[in-house]
């Protein structure tokens, strides 16, 4: 293929990206509607000095990190067992782990209302078993938001870890065991460092998704669990504060990139250590 033809093939895609993505994204920061120049920067500075906004940023970060940690803690074992299984069920189990990705977040989150409500499955189980007469409030708490987000993003964590783990030759574990390493030593010295790239990808995707999610916090949280995404939506669709919305968008993006960068760095350090 000649270079000229190659460039021609790229033109439609580049045009779409430019006018449907890059230009609007930049303009959103430089010039929101009905807003004086540089107002976004001004608003950003205000937000960073405002304890209320800082609280929201911190909650967003915290929820994102907790969800990421739980997803890795639960997802890694699933991925490991699937990658090492020779059972004929393993294909089905992998499919079941991936299947939720086909389902709308609304559908998936909706189930938690049934599970966590005050007459929900957990509460009824607790009272039914006589453990307590006053089941704890579960819905509209940070725990509910975390549970919902963990459910949403576990498949992503599993798939990332799986693709990394299934690329690690099983022989390496054999070799470590043969050299005298116990199971835990093998995990710590061989498996974990080698699975790190997949775990980092997984962590990045999960954090990016969890920290910017809208559906789940809006359904399972309340006004006390406000995250940046809800704030962005409020500014853009309720109070019509364009500069504020743009500033929150910038904050959200920066948060995602900062955490992605940090996890990539930590992953590299761990592997080379």
């Amino acid at each position: 293929m000649s270079r000229r033809n190659a460039v021609l093939l790229l033109v439609p895609g580049l045009a779409l990206l430019l006018f449907g993505f890059l230009v609007p994204a930049v303009m959103m920061l430089l010039h929101p509607p009905d807003t004086p120049a540089l107002d976004v920067g001004h608003r950003l500075a205000q937000m960073l000095a405002d304890p209320f906004m800082l609280g929201i940023i911190w909650r967003t970060l915290r929820i994102g990190l907790i969800v990421t940690a739980v997803c890795l803690l639960l997802g890694f074992p699933v991925a490991y067992l699937l990658s090492r299984s020779t059972s004929r069920w393993s294909g089905l189990l992998l499919a079941l782990a991936i299947f939720p990705l086909l389902l709308s977040n609304v559908v998936r989150t909706y189930g938690w209302l049934v599970v966590l409500g005050s007459k929900g499955v957990i509460a009824q189980a607790l009272t039914g078993l006589g453990i307590t007469d006053h089941p704890p409030q579960l819905l509209y708490t940070e725990t509910a938001v975390v549970a919902g987000l963990v459910q949403l993003f576990l498949p992503l964590a599993i798939v990332s870890c799986y693709s990394s783990l299934s690329g690690i030759e099983a022989r390496l574990e054999d070799a470590a065991r043969g050299l005298g390493a116990s199971r835990t030593a093998t995990f710590r010295l061989v498996l974990l460092p080698l699975a790190m790239p997949g775990a980092v990808v997984g962590a990045t995707l999960v954090f990016a998704g969890a920290a910017t999610a809208y559906t789940t916090p809006v359904l399972l949280g309340g006004t006390r669990q406000t995250m940046l995404s809800l704030q962005l939506f409020n500014y853009s669709s309720v109070t019509i504060d364009w500069a504020g919305a743009s500033a929150v968008a910038l904050l959200m993006t920066a948060l995602v990139f900062a955490v992605a960068g940090a996890s990539a760095w930590a992953g590299r350090r761990r592997v080379t250590a």
Binding site: E169, L172, A176, R177, G178, L179, A181, S182, L189, L194
Partner: protein
């Protein structure tokens, strides 16, 4: 629980079934201390499974395995003190050469300084002490193979197990590494079991050659004993005896192409063998000699010949020297 024999590894009626498949089927085997035993056989005959049972990655469904005189049948791999070199080398890609070699010592809690010393020693033995800071991916195939060997040796194992350690290398390197392997085994004196499907490799390296056929031992013994006298057609085929025919008074026999003489049709037959008339159906030039395909009274016979006067279609006389003809139990 010591058993009587002084073999370092002893398998007593060991079998391993996978569902219906008998991968290994009642194998008895003694590996004397300091020797090199080669497990040889075609793909799927059970070589790897046998080796993995000795290492503890697989457990026998019947029989017992003794290592250093103690029953090791149910022991976990990390408790056996065995050095294994995998076909794919299985080097840890995230560790340097030195750390790979030191791995087994590190998990044994050996002191840092001592690890360094012994890793260096093992790398010297395989001639790679210069490369200790590299990662596996920065090494050639032959170098990786030697690192795997050094890693296995560094823990001073009772037995060294090698699963087709050379089969991933190209022809030239394979020959070279084969000599290297012989040297290292000789110098270290470690009892070694080598899995291969390459008869040349086994012939060249082994003190004991064990040929497996569908999970059973087909023949075992010193290469110089087995090679000139394969016990049956399976072993003969495997060792490159291409010709099988029935000779009057000798029954079913086998003979290698190199030992079949192709003589002019007229002329007297030499003594000490049998002579049969034949026709040349094809000649394939091989450089030093040609491979001649003959039709000998209905049998297809291959002979290696360097006579430039042979032509396709010529009628000739084939000669089978008595001392080269191996009778087979059919």
């Amino acid at each position: 629980m010591r058993d009587g024999s002084d073999a370092v590894v002893r398998l007593a009626k060991v079998s391993r079934h996978f569902g219906d498949v008998a991968a290994v089927d009642g194998v008895d085997l003694e590996v004397p201390a300091g020797s090199l035993t080669a497990l040889l056989g075609p793909s799927g005959c059970g070589k790897t499974t046998t080796l993995r049972m000795i290492a503890g990655y697989e457990h026998p469904t019947a029989g017992q395995i003794f290592i250093d005189g103690r029953d090791a049948t149910g022991l976990a791999p990390e408790k056996r003190n065995i050095g294994m070199v995998f076909q794919s080398y299985a080097l840890f890609p995230h560790l340097t050469v030195a750390k790979n070699v030191g791995f087994g010592l590190k998990v044994r809690g050996v002191a840092r300084e001592e690890i360094r010393r012994r890793a260096h020693e093992a790398l010297e033995l395989v001639g790679l002490s210069e490369l200790s800071g590299r990662r596996p991916r920065e090494l050639s195939g032959g170098q990786q193979q030697r690192v795997a060997l050094a890693r296995a040796i560094a823990i001073r194992p009772s037995v060294l197990l090698l699963d087709e350690p050379l089969s991933n290398l190209d022809a030239r390197l394979r020959v070279q590494m084969r000599a290297e392997l012989a040297r290292i085994q000789r110098e270290s004196g470690i009892t070694t079991i080598l899995v291969t499907h390459d008869q040349e490799e086994a012939l060249q390296l082994a003190d004991q050659m064990v040929i497996l056929d569908s999970g059973r031992v087909a023949q075992a013994g010193h290469p110089r004993k087995i090679f000139p006298a394969p016990a049956n057609r399976f072993v003969a085929t495997f060792l490159g005896y291409e010709n099988f025919l029935t000779l009057p008074g000798r029954g079913l026999v086998t003979i290698r192409p190199e030992h079949v003489a192709v003589l002019p049709e007229s002329g007297t037959a030499p003594d000490g063998g049998q002579s049969r008339p034949g026709t040349i159906s094809r000649i394939t030039y091989r450089g030093t000699d040609s491979l001649v395909t003959l039709d000998v009274e209905g049998d297809t016979i291959l002979a290696a010949a360097s006579d430039p006067d042979l032509h396709e279609g010529s009628r000739v006389r084939t000669f089978f020297p008595d001392d080269r003809v191996v009778p087979l139990a059919s």
